[in-house]
Amino acid sequence: MSSKPRIQPDDLDLAFYNATAEAGRLCLQHCQDCGNWTHPARYYCPKCSSANYAFDPVSGEAQIHSYTISHFSIEPAWKDLVPYAALVAETVEGPRVVARTEMSREEVRIGVPIRLAVEVMDSEFSYVWASAAEVPE
């Protein structure tokens, strides 16, 4: 169980977190005209300039694009958790999100396939968690 950060998001950031909490799945901004996915959300689609969007669930399939392993923190919520990893997870839909993980140091490498899930803290914040994707037999 994670401690809940108080971030008080506004506007599209709030809409993103609301949609994700309601679905219990990671929901990203999805252009209803050209199908492009965008994160963090913005008012006009960067591909077709449409303002017609929804927050739709993504598949959860992703890979590690980058990451950092933190060995030091002064933050109460994190200093006892070192070393902890934060991943830059690239979804197959396109957008990248920061994700937590309990994968081992050896497993965390660029290009490794992962699966994303969310831990809903409340309607205004959910954590994205990554785990190693199961390799098909």
Partner: protein
């Protein structure tokens, strides 16, 4: 061939306040002190100033004008790009002067980068903040994951640089060691008297991979300022003018977020550098010193690549064997940089470039230098560059 703003203005005055780890002075007091020094250094008075480009946060143009006693402000603007702002301010001042909107433009910056994080028990919190949208991005998407401040944000892309391109820690270490070596020649450098060898660097503990403690610049209380005027007017003032030869700003797409860019390693400077060299009519190999914005060693390596001194991932060859140390081909951060002089948002890099081109850099002087460059890097990758020359 030069173009655009090349040769349209010169830096006539420089001022610095610092560099300290702990001070009783407010940010405003430090900024005013550096500003007054820069005005006097130019041989001018506050009443000669008619343009003010304030820092992107903490203090505003109107109070600077009021406290210094500037009777008439004809031009003010405020670039909002963190550590890329001082060079952007210089470009903006040049533009205002070239356009005839102002004659003498003051560009100051300062902060209590040390004391703000370690406030005295009786200190009142500083209420002035920044307006850039990236603070929202950080608050909503990075900070909840234990990525609270700059080392943690930038590590998100720097780890890809290190792992994908196989960048050795010794490449970053060469930046840290060169800056520390140069700081030994600088009386006001925070890290004067504290040597750093490559062995020391490699044993430095990780903060957040790939950043070790010695990859990070030093938090300091300080301020610095420049006074910019026309080349003609600068010739009649106290010092040899330092001429603006070329400059540009550039920004990653998208600028308000760090990880959703097609190429997360492409800095604003990648966009800006070719435009600046074209404006100045020179090539990178003409440079005789490099004052590179060095908030983190690996960012400085990426900047050297953006400038064209190496291919992506190849800066390690450029920085080795003393090439970036005084006596080498491209002395880098001859004042010690953010790494070892202090973090003054890179305004200290402009001040040092001016000292070099005046031939007043003391023990750190690059013999007979005529031309060099300064870069800025701010917020989530904004980039700026100015190419400066010794005036006639």
């Amino acid at each position: 061939m030069t173009a655009g703003l090349s040769g349209k203005a010169a830096i006539a005055g420089i001022g610095e306040y610092g560099y300290y780890r702990g001070t009783d002075k407010s940010i405003l007091q430090m900024v005013l002190a550096a500003s007054m020094d820069a005005i006097k250094d130019a041989g001018l008075k506050p009443s000669d100033v008619d343009g003010i480009i304030p820092p992107p946060g903490f203090v505003a143009w109107d109070e600077i004008a009021a406290h210094l006693g500037v009777p008439e402000v004809r031009y003010t603007a405020c670039p909002q790009m963190g550590g890329a702002s001082p060079v952007a301010g210089l470009i903006n001042a040049t533009m205002a002067i070239a356009a005839g909107l102002a004659e003498v433009v003051l560009v100051p910056i300062g902060w209590n980068g040390y004391s703000a994080l370690r406030p005295r028990p009786d200190a009142r919190p500083n209420k002035r903040r920044f307006s850039a949208a990236f603070f929202e991005t950080v608050k909503n998407y990075y900070a909840p994951y234990g990525l609270r401040s700059a080392p943690w944000w930038y590590a998100l892309y720097l780890q890809r640089y290190v792992e994908y391109y196989g960048v050795a820690p010794e490449a970053a270490g060469a930046i840290a060691v060169a800056c520390r070596k140069h700081a030994q020649l600088n009386e006001v450098a925070v890290m004067r008297g504290r040597a750093l060898t490559m062995e020391d660097y490699l044993q430095s503990p990780y903060v957040t991979e790939p950043l070790r403690k010695n990859d990070c610049c030093v938090e300091t209380d300080c301020a610095a300022a420049i006074v910019v005027t026309s080349v003609e007017r600068a010739r009649d003032l106290r010092h040899k003018p330092v001429t603006f030869l070329g400059g540009a700003e550039g920004h990653p797409n998208r600028p308000d977020e760090l990880i959703n860019r097609a190429d997360i390693l492409k800095l604003g400077l990648d966009y800006a550098a070719p435009r600046a060299f074209a404006m100045a009519g020179v090539v990178p190999q003409d440079m005789q010193f490099l004052q590179i914005y060095d908030c983190f060693t690996y960012v400085a390596l990426l900047e050297l690549e953006a400038l064209g001194f190496a291919e992506r991932g190849g800066a390690g060859d450029f920085v080795k064997d003393g090439n970036i140390e005084l006596g080498g081909r491209y002395p880098l951060n001859t004042h010690g940089g953010l790494m070892s002089q202090g973090h003054c948002w890179g305004m200290n890099h402009i001040v040092e470039a001016v000292r070099q081109l005046r031939h007043e850099a003391g023990a750190a002087q690059v013999e007979g230098c005529e031309i060099g460059l300064v870069t800025g890097y701010g917020d989530l990758g904004d980039g700026t560059i100015a190419i400066l020359g010794r005036g006639a």
